[in-house]
Amino acid sequence: MSKGFSRQLAVLVAAAAMAASIPANAADPIKIGVPLAQSPPGSVVQGVQVKDGLEIVKDMVNKQGGVNGQQITLIYEDDQGIPEKGRAAVEKLITRDKVVAIVGPHQSSNCLAEIEVAKRYDIPYVNTNCWSDDIRKKGYKQVFNPANYNSRVAFAMAETLSGLGVKRVVAFCENTDYGIGQAKAVAEALKKKSPNVEYHFETLDRTSKDFTPAIVPLRSNPPDAVLMMMLPPAAYIVMNQLYEQGVAPSDKTWLYDGAGLGDYPDFWQNVKEAGKNLIEFGLYHPNMGVPKLGQEVGKTYQEKTKHEPNRLIYQAADSLLLVVEAIKNAKSTKPDAIIKALESMQFSGVRGSFKFSEEPGVSYHQWVDIPYVTYQFTEVGEPVSKTTLVQGPNLPLSVDKLKKAK
């Protein structure tokens, strides 16, 4: 071995020893896993908006110095809206990427699969937009739900339908945990609120493209209201075909959406006249008032994308802020410490202040009184900010503001 080579080897060994002696967590970023749909057949539209909301908050937090001196890194996995892929994605995020928490899931069927993994590894899982009541009913301490839930929507829809005095209601729901769950929840809510209402729901395949056979029979015997519990693109096709067949919205039949479609950026481009007179359950309306932090997030989103912000942006923002706040409170990135902090803290986010409920059942680890709005589009292309708000936080329901189609 030559002298020169020995010297080089010694330098290398010394460098390696120095590197090994540096504490591993000195400036390591905090890794947070995000499983969401980035390709079909998942709802990529939702995935994109959730990602937008998360990125805005990540940049805000990192600009302010991160969390306890550490920057946040978001690690994305594409679950394609397929539960098995979601399960594999979360497994990979936890075991290989060593994330300290999961945020961002937005489709109920995926959530139901993924929370099993989070439970197994005892990793906090913040449900950004999965509405199925079953997720809450499981009672997993790792799972936190700042998102809306089907029972909340059902309550709101039953209240509105009761106010409208409808007698016969038909619902179209997609064949997923969210869709079928919401349809059943509405059935339960209507039984309590208006037991005389005749209610029937039809499950539609979300991958199908022609729903005319389900719609045509309603022409000869139109119901008083048609409810929709579906996501795009199938939801848009159903709306267009309901309009084409003259079923809803019409002078006889209300069209009422329970999925919050109205604030999607591509809504009007895809439904045109079919969206006029649509009654919408929503989780955000510019007139409902949001805290200063929410206004900041909304403004940043509008500057970046030229679109009005919507509830998915705010839900995503709150999901990440919850984890950030929990880490700050716990002064630790250990998953069990984050879980304890999430359970006990009073959180003030972009949509308001709340504490997670400990009541078992549908309220478990849920923001129970999550604010919602009911509004109606009265013109084609109408932005949400210009719609008629008929119900909101501090605004009791006034059904007389709703107008039937002519």
């Binding site: 079909p40 990529v44 064949n175 991958t207 022609d210 045509v216 481009q269």
Partner: protein, 296 residues
């Protein structure tokens, strides 16, 4: 009245299925393989029409030919680059041919869906209507102007294609290659050229279907999956390689799904075609109008 409504709607859907399926039938007739990327030709046509009209700021009628042009070009390129190895100087492919076709066209399908998703974006887009009639009543049925027009154009294209395949020199070359590739080449017909033309025509037809339906079924990266699955069922039902069979099977399937969804169950709508498929395969495996070949 409901039954008339369902029957007419079923026929309309059947015509649109036929527009997709005849292209696949032609491909199978020539190459004896199924193209699993066929649905993506539909998808590309849907986007070509929708985005072409928006980007170029032209009337939808002028944008409509863009779809078959794009579909045709992609079809030609697919045949030349992906399918040519099936019959051009690779003797061992004769025994792995089906597996090769499945793998390569399936992979191409996944590539196209994800490419469009990333390049164009995931948001569904509604194509511009050719006529500004959102709905009208025609007897007992309600239709949109676009649906009515798509049906009329679809029927015209299918009739023209059937005539071309039966009665023109080009059509007779296709029939010759479909019946016997070796025999056709001995007669002076270039099978590779015919195959390429057929793939191009199939791509153009599927893309045209996508364009005609874009104002009804919003274009999205995975929009081709649904018509593709229907096409595979139709091609087998009608008899693989038989255009008449495909057209008849399309109409039967459209009407069957329409009635079955209302009188049996909407939830099982997509299974009716599969049930009929299984029954037909058990009783008449060659389909309604199975292809007859000649051995040289």
């Amino acid at each position: 009245m409901l039954n008339v409504d369902l029957f007419v709607n079923g026929l309309i859907v059947g015509v649109l299925y036929a527009l997709m399926a005849v292209g696949l039938t032609l491909i199978f007739g020539i190459l004896k393989v199924v193209n699993f990327a066929h649905g993506e030709f539909y998808m590309l046509g849907s986007y070509a029409y929708t985005l072409g009209a928006a980007a170029l700021g032209i009337s939808p009628w002028l944008a409509l030919p863009l779809a078959p042009v794009v579909g045709g070009v992609v079809g030609l390129v697919t045949e030349r680059l992906l399918m040519r190895p099936l019959y051009s100087g690779y003797s061992s492919w004769g025994f792995l041919k089906d597996e090769y076709a499945v793998v390569v066209t399936f992979a191409f399908s996944i590539l196209l869906v994800n490419l469009v998703d990333k390049v164009v974006g995931p948001y569904p887009v509604l194509g511009p209507a050719l006529v500004d009639v959102s709905r009208f009543r025609a007897g007992p049925i309600m239709l949109s102007g676009q649906k009515a027009l798509a049906t009329v154009i679809g029927v015209a294209v299918i009739v023209a294609l059937a005539f071309a395949v039966r009665s023109t020199a080009w059509g007779r070359r296709i029939q010759a290659v479909a019946q016997n590739r070796l025999g056709a080449s001995l007669a002076g017909i270039d099978p590779a050229r015919v195959s390429m033309t057929v793939f191009g025509a199939a791509g153009a037809l599927a893309a045209l279907a996508g364009a005609l339906l874009a104002p009804i079924i919003n274009a999205s990266p995975d929009v081709g999956a649904f018509p593709a699955v229907k096409s595979y069922v139709i091609v087998v039902l009608g008899g693989m390689g038989s255009m008449t069979g495909s057209i008849l099977a399309s109409l039967v399937l459209g009407v069957l799904e329409s009635f079955g969804a209302v009188y049996i169950s909407y939830g099982y709508r997509d299974t009716f075609g599969l049930v009929i498929l299984v029954l037909v395969l058990l009783v008449r495996p060659q389909g309604f109008f199975g292809e007859q070949g000649r051995v040289v």
